[in-house]
């Protein structure tokens, strides 16, 4: 897929285009936000607590209101983008890559290895994520990177199982046999034939997971095992803001909205990518085997 092509395709899909722009803004914020707005976001002003949204009298930074310490909600959202996106992206990518790889191996192996992997998945699924979070946080400390580890591990099973299920089907197809006849190794088959066919499915799951992980991080914060202040993430903001829902809805609403928009954008983009990555679907074609993929 050529880049210009991809861009042209992106331009054509208006929704995906908007989603891409939104994500670019978020990513830019994640990169420069803390440097630009770090000061504003941490400036505590007990005399300007819980200012409501949409009031420009106090300056632009209070447009979305202020929190219980009088900090600008807007600035905090912008600063929180880094940790939020970093954690979500990091854990989704980690679980996607590791889980996908393990799942493919499990699907391709016909011996005991596949079985061992599947049973290990049972174990991971039964291991409560909260306990895992606590252990990691207790042993390794409350670093955002550790949150990534926790979330990535808890999300592994879906990828392993999905990848494995797909591989079980794909490996029976004749083109895999054709490659084996030519002397392709298992590795070659996995990379050239399996991954391209499994990836779109995994990517769709990853896009959905993007939201899932942001929420899981938020739920961890709610239970006191997530990102700890003074670090800030959108999830943490929602968790902190819930105590004020009655008096200051905006505290949890705006970061919640940011999570939701990011999730929607990620999903739109993933659907678009599925089209763009699939040559047969790209032309708007859904022929027999293309769709089968």
């Amino acid at each position: 897929m050529k880049l210009t092509n991809a861009f042209a395709l992106l331009r054509r899909d208006k929704l995906a285009f908007v989603a891409a722009i939104y994500l670019v803004v978020v990513v830019v914020l994640a990169i420069i936000g803390p440097e630009l707005f770090g000061k504003t976001a941490t400036a505590i002003n007990l005399r300007a607590r819980n200012l409501p949204s949409f009031d420009l009298n106090q300056g632009w930074e209070y447009y979305l209101g202020s929190d219980s310490l009088g900090r600008s909600v807007l600035a905090r959202i912008m600063v929180g983008a880094r940790n939020t996106i970093g954690i979500a992206f990091g854990s989704v990518i980690a679980s996607l890559c590791i889980g996908g790889a393990i799942g493919i191996v499990a699907g391709l192996s016909r011996g005991a290895l596949g079985n061992i992997i599947v049973r290990s998945v049972d174990v991971i699924m039964s291991f409560p994520s909260l306990l895992l979070a606590l252990i990691v946080l207790y042993v390794l400390g409350t670093d955002p990177v550790n949150i990534i580890v926790v979330l990535a591990i808890t999300r592994l099973p879906v990828y392993i199982r999905t990848a494995r299920a797909e591989v079980l089907e794909i490996r029976e197809r004749a083109f895999v046999s054709a490659a084996r006849v030519m002397g392709a190794s298992g590795f070659h088959i996995a990379i050239r034939h399996i991954v391209p066919l499994v990836l779109p499915t995994l990517l769709i799951i990853a896009a959905l997971d993007f939201a899932y992980v942001m929420l899981a991080e938020s739920a961890l914060s709610f239970l006191g095992m997530g990102v700890q202040p003074p670090d800030v993430t959108w999830g943490l903001m929602v968790a902190e803001g819930r105590a004020y829902i009655n008096v200051a809805w905006w505290l949890s609403f705006w970061p919640g909205l940011a999570i939701m928009l990011t999730a929607i954008a990620a999903n739109l983009l993933a659907s678009w990518f599925r089209l763009a990555a699939d040559p047969t679907l790209a032309a708007g074609r859904k022929l027999a085997d293309a769709a089968h993929a």
Binding site: D122, M125, V139, A165, E166, A219, F222, A293
Partner: protein, 304 residues
């Protein structure tokens, strides 16, 4: 078949043991409950005595040995905080969670299959767009937020539903509603995705050429083929629910296993924690066996 079940059961048992070992040792990395149990002004000696009495000062392998021996006698230890057998507490809480999880999953599966299939029938159509947007949004709403807002709207402002607690039919609505959103959103997306693939498959043409009505094409021919990935994701969701719908249980005051487990985790009440995990793990393992069974029922190519 019975050979398969035996082998599968054996493997699961080994995995279960591995899980218990893992939980036992990892959870003890987080300290012990002495300080949490003893009042703050207890003296060092009192703390020491408490720890020794409950075996926290023994080397880990000794503690583990005792644990194993007791398990063999079906003794899962006593909760330090509750002063009663841990398994009793776990078994008391589990049915509540199981009921919540079952109802939620049944609803989520049913609704997502319906919505997802309809959306997939005309990808990019109005229904698809609206449904996708709604389900993705719902899948990305924090549940605790939704729960509290739900209470404020439906119970306090409108007065239609009880705020929380258990008892009548009405008590179920809010918790189930809140629990439902995420699995529903996720599953609908997955159903939609795999239905789009399945509906483009050649055998769908065959079905249409037979004169099968739209409904039959979608729900009989395409659906079954697309259920594999749906079941995988549904299994994951169900496991998460069984492992404790912690947030919903917390907010609505449901005495489920999630609540119990988080309390045990926070209190380092290891016996309860291990009992809870044992109970949920058995459930999850059984569910996974069921899922595998469903796989092979759904797709004959996986059989054998």
């Amino acid at each position: 078949m019975s050979g398969y079940i035996l082998r599968r059961g054996g493997q699961s048992l080994v995995a279960l043991m591995a899980l218990l070992v893992l939980v036992f040792f990892l959870s003890r990395l987080t300290g012990n409950p002495t300080d949490l149990y003893m009042p703050m002004d207890a003296s060092l000696d009192q703390r020491e005595a408490f720890a020794t009495k409950h075996g926290f000062n023994d080397p880990l392998y000794v503690q583990f040995g005792t644990y194993l021996v007791n398990i063999a006698k079906f003794d899962f230890g006593d909760s330090i905080f509750q002063g009663r057998p841990a398994m009793q507490a776990a078994l008391e809480a589990f049915p509540v969670t199981l009921r919540l999880a079952l109802i939620t999953m049944v609803l989520a599966l049913g609704l997502s299959v319906l919505i997802g299939s309809l959306a997939a029938y005309r990808p990019g159509g109005l229904f698809d767009r609206v449904a996708s947007l709604l389900t993705i949004s719902s899948a990305s709403t924090p549940d605790f937020w939704l729960a509290i807002v739900g209470i404020l709207i439906f119970s306090v402002t409108l007065g239609w539903l009880p705020t929380s607690g258990t008892g009548t039919f009405w008590h179920w609505l809010l918790p189930i509603g809140v629990l439902l959103v995420r699995p529903l959103g996720l599953l609908t997306q997955v159903v939609r995705m795999s239905m789009i693939s399945a509906l483009a498959a050649p055998y769908v043409k065959t079905a249409r050429a037979k004169g099968a009505p739209k409904r039959r094409v979608v729900f009989v021919h395409a659906l079954r083929n697309s259920m594999l990935s749906v079941i995988t994701v549904a299994g994951d969701q169900a496991a998460a629910l069984i492992n404790g719908a912690v947030v919903v249980e917390t907010v609505f005051g449901w005495p489920g296993i999630g609540n119990l487990m988080i309390a045990a985790i926070k209190q380092r009440d290891f016996a309860v924690l291990q009992a809870c995990i044992l109970v949920t793990a058995v459930a999850i393992f059984l569910m996974n066996i069921l899922i595998d069974f469903a796989y092979s029922r759904l797709d004959p190519r996986i059989r054998g």
